[in-house]
Amino acid sequence: MKLKYFAWVRERIGLAEEDIALPDDVATAGDLIVWLKGRGEGYAYALERDAFIRVAIDQEHALHTAPVRGAREVALFPPMTGG
């Protein structure tokens, strides 16, 4: 599964994207965030305010309760500030 990070989530993790093998116990976007926080200091810092992080699954906005299994691409990012 491809993960993408944007804005300060990208900066804190130190990566724009990466490929991961999804662990068996990760079912939802929320599970994915918790799992990523355990992968290192940058991840923990980027994702410290869990509820604040927005998720897109295959380029569509998704809730933290949405299943990620089977997704091609999951993106994590701060609230958007375009326009």
Binding site: W8, R10, A75, P79, M80
Partner: protein, 151 residues
């Protein structure tokens, strides 16, 4: 008819306005142009990061929702990414319809959702040459979006 474009280059507003098209049943064209403000001389510009692919897809979904809600003939939207200097366009949205209410509503609806749903993130470029903080999302923008649920 919906057209959406994400551009890394400065916008040519005459060309963007023309992209909306027109026909003999078009009686009303409403547009919105968002520009980079100088914030009282504090900024040289804004840097816009975006999620390629999803940015186009999300604005297209917002425009489709507007076209389902109001009798609009066409919507055209274009959004910059990259470094945008003070006074330069960031976003342009235009809608056309037979009558003015639908055109006004559609443009405002697209802007309100674009602000909170389109995957763009701004950071400030400061007058002293340094890069400032990422711009924080505004509660006012969430409230602006929520008003469409009540209507």
């Amino acid at each position: 008819m919906i057209s959406v474009r994400i551009s890394g280059d400065p916008l040519d507003l005459a060309a963007e306005a023309a992209a909306l098209g027109s026909d003999d049943d078009t009686g009303a064209v409403a547009t919105f142009l968002g520009l980079c403000r100088g914030e009282a001389g504090r900024l040289t510009g804004l840097e816009l990061e975006h999620y390629p692919g999803m940015a186009e897809a999300e604005i297209t979904r917002i425009a489709q929702a507007a076209m389902e809600r109001w009798p609009v003939q066409a919507i055209h939207a274009v959004h910059r990414h990259g470094l945008v200097g003070v006074g330069e366009p960031i976003v342009f949205v235009a809608a056309r319809s037979a009558h003015r209410d639908a055109a006004f509503d559609a443009v405002r609806f697209v802007m309100d959702f674009l602000k909170t749903e389109a995957p763009f993130w701004k950071r400030e470029h400061l007058l002293d040459g340094t890069t400032g903080p990422w711009v924080e999302a505004k509660d006012a923008d969430d409230r602006a979006r929520e008003r469409w649920a009540a209507a």
